[in-house]
Symmetry: C2
Subunit: 431 residues, 2 copies
């Protein structure tokens, strides 16, 4: 069953977690995945699907029969229900939802109204809620009678309209006077809840900063949708960062073994965007055909000018993108940061202008050319520092993810400025 | 006190977690940091320092007096002790260690023997251990008498020599017969523990896959060093990924407001490495001076060939680096993956060779030139796909982090192959 090129499955699959299964399925050639999937214990299958990457999940769901999909929906834990249901064809989806109990039906309806970039989609319902009018003694009694879900470090207060009214830390609850109302013990700090509309990566980072084991998730009307646990935050953080790393390389979270035609279609878009920027650089070079035809060394050295600017710019760009993503760069300190980066550009530009000037004078024995390339390097490294700050800040204000588009815009700037500075100065001074 | 360009501190600092404080300190201009640091409640200061980035922590520790450092060491929670102590000057370090209680002293000695890339350094000692000979009843009694540390979902069994002998899930423990020995309830699965020598990012991912709230950490002799909780795993995962993102941009985890001379010194190294690769590309171009002097359009179009190869290669590179980092690419499926990527390269190369051929023929009206650039694009996109697989695999076997060095090596390959294919074919066919 496991053909050539497929890793042998370890023997102790009984101890496998849903993450372990997902890991093996993703590393397999697509033809063998369905076979392995059907060897997973029934009660785990939904959770396994929920943690595989989007591509793999979509393709497996396409391969399952309608009946298998219904069983899947019923056996998936409520924590992962939405991720599995969200990819089912609509006719299966509606009937699968009807089979759920009414509490879960409500959650699924709400969660599916958020896109998979929003934390609202990942909410789970395994949460202990109490009315704010209850006393500490009542809450303590209720706690003893219930199964406390894991990662529960607080009780959530919800009024009869479903509005979130704050939370009570379990340790504080244990030591509170019996007759004290829960509403007096609670806090309703904005920092202690997540908004369903938040980006899921940002929500995972909020969870990290909070120090809590769980956080309630509310919508704009402050209705409680459910909670996110620290376990889900860890999964979402890893997913968020893997996508950022892939986006920086012009990729998305694709199946390692996606069919060639699917991969080609996706990647070719990025190549096309890049071609436009490359043609812009070519157009600038084309303005200086005269200089190029007289001094061939200009053509030889062009890549050096462009690439030094590109590297210097991407250093600043990377720092700025991370600062914007974590929220550490704001209007107050942006100017300070820009000043610092420009000064680094001035110094680094000068250092490498001098070094490259010396290398070129030794290589070509032409002091004029050395001077021209030194000027161009300095200008380009400085321009790169400015672009490294401005490009991501502007993209961010335009609501375009700088991690996705930043580097292609930056490269256009450093190519165009670099070629213009180098060939322009050469035309002025050497022709 | 908070000068121009410094974000105003929100009023509710009493509710601040150590992560909140660290966030504000990192976003401030260095001159103002010490002032804010000294407004942090004493008992939080050590933990705040532990979660700020390395640069900021090092500089703050340099600014504190010896007495302040001793106080810091005493007030830091044992979870974060090593991160704070690890940056203290050695004379302070040794005396600070002596003031700790003997259990903490031992932990610090062991943890400091690991570099900050290893999970052993991040171990905490807040862990419940029992001898494997104890019975379930004894363990249940002991549990009731002790403060159970947060994120404890299991008891760790340790023999009198300190060797880890497995762990018992608390739920299993609660329902076990009173006289059953713990050793019979435990499992000693490799997947349920971390090795102190593991990379900390890999350990955080193991934690995510495990589904546990904590994992024991052992050394090569299977001595128990302590544990990592899911909270620490979340912090380490974020730190690991932020560093990966910075490394891809040729940066490290530097202070946003590091002094200009420190930043220049660090970044200039990367610019120097890049210069060598740019000069290699220039050298290849220099081999074809004759062709360039006769056909200026070659110089105009050179960047297009290089950059299409660069983008295609970085797509494959990104996928390969992520697959290697998560362990999903292994010897068994590497060949399959390489086949797939080469086929994508063949198809995408052909598509863009044809498109660029048409664009060039429209721009320059020279069918020979169109043919030459189409051939060069095809060759380079194909070479890029091969390099995108081979470069990270080879770097990985050489124990060099492909996230750090991969893209500079790949760019060298695509530049050199691109210029060689383009100018070489032109020399053969057009001169």
């Amino acid at each position: 069953q496991f053909a050539e090129g497929v890793p042998a499955l370890p023997l102790e699959t009984p101890g496998f977690s849903s993450n372990d299964w997902a890991f093996f399925i993703e590393g397999m050639y697509p033809d063998h995945r369905l076979g392995l999937f059907q060897e997973i214990p029934l009660e785990l299958r939904g959770d396994v699907l929920a943690v595989t990457n989007d591509d793999v999940r979509r393709r497996l769901i396409e391969q399952l029969s309608t009946n298998e999909l219904y069983n899947l929906a019923e056996s998936t834990s409520s924590e992962h229900l939405v991720e599995v249901l969200g990819m089912m064809p609509s006719h299966v989806l509606l009937r699968a939802i009807k089979r759920l109990d009414s509490d879960e039906q409500e959650l699924v309806h709400k969660a599916l109204s958020y896109t998979d970039r929003k934390i609202g989609r990942y909410v789970s319902r395994a949460v202990l809620t109490v009315t704010p009018e209850a006393t500490a003694a009542m809450a303590r009694t209720a706690l003893k009678q219930q199964q406390v879900p894991e990662y529960t470090d607080r009780l959530l207060l919800v009024d009869d309209k479903g509005i979130f009214k704050g939370s009570v830390d379990l340790e504080i609850l244990q030591s509170a006077p019996a007759r004290q109302a829960l509403s007096e013990l609670s806090d309703l700090d904005e920092k202690h809840m997540l908004l369903a509309d938040q980006d899921y990566g940002e929500a995972a980072l909020d969870m990290k900063s909070s120090g809590f084991a769980m956080m309630p998730v509310v919508n704009e009307q402050h209705e409680l949708l459910g909670r996110i646990t620290i376990r889900e935050a860890l999964e979402l953080a890893v997913d968020y960062y893997e996508n950022q790393l892939l986006a920086q390389g012009g990729m998305n979270d694709e199946d390692l073994f996606a069919p060639v035609k699917v991969s080609v279609a996706r990647r070719t878009v990025w190549l096309g965007i890049n071609l436009i920027t490359a043609l812009a650089a070519s157009w600038v070079i084309g303005l200086f055909e005269l200089a190029l035809s007289k001094i061939v060394a200009l053509a030889v050295l062009m890549p050096v000018v462009a690439s030094m600017g590109g590297i210097a710019g991407s250093q600043t760009l990377t720092l700025t993108i991370r600062g914007l993503a974590t929220g550490q760069i704001n209007n107050a300190n942006l100017t300070l940061l820009a000043h610092k980066e420009v000064r680094i550009g001035l110094v680094n530009g000068l250092i490498w202008a001098l070094i490259i000037g010396v290398v070129v004078s030794w290589w070509f024995g032409n002091p004029g050319l050395s001077f021209v390339i030194a000027i161009a390097i300095w200008i380009n490294v400085l321009a790169a520092a400015c672009a490294g700050i401005l490009v991501p800040v502007i993209l961010d204000r335009m609501k375009i993810d700088p991690a996705l588009a930043g580097s292609v815009v930056l490269t256009t700037v450093t190519d165009v400025v670099g070629f213009f500075a180098f060939l322009g100065t050469a035309t002025l001074l050497l022709i």
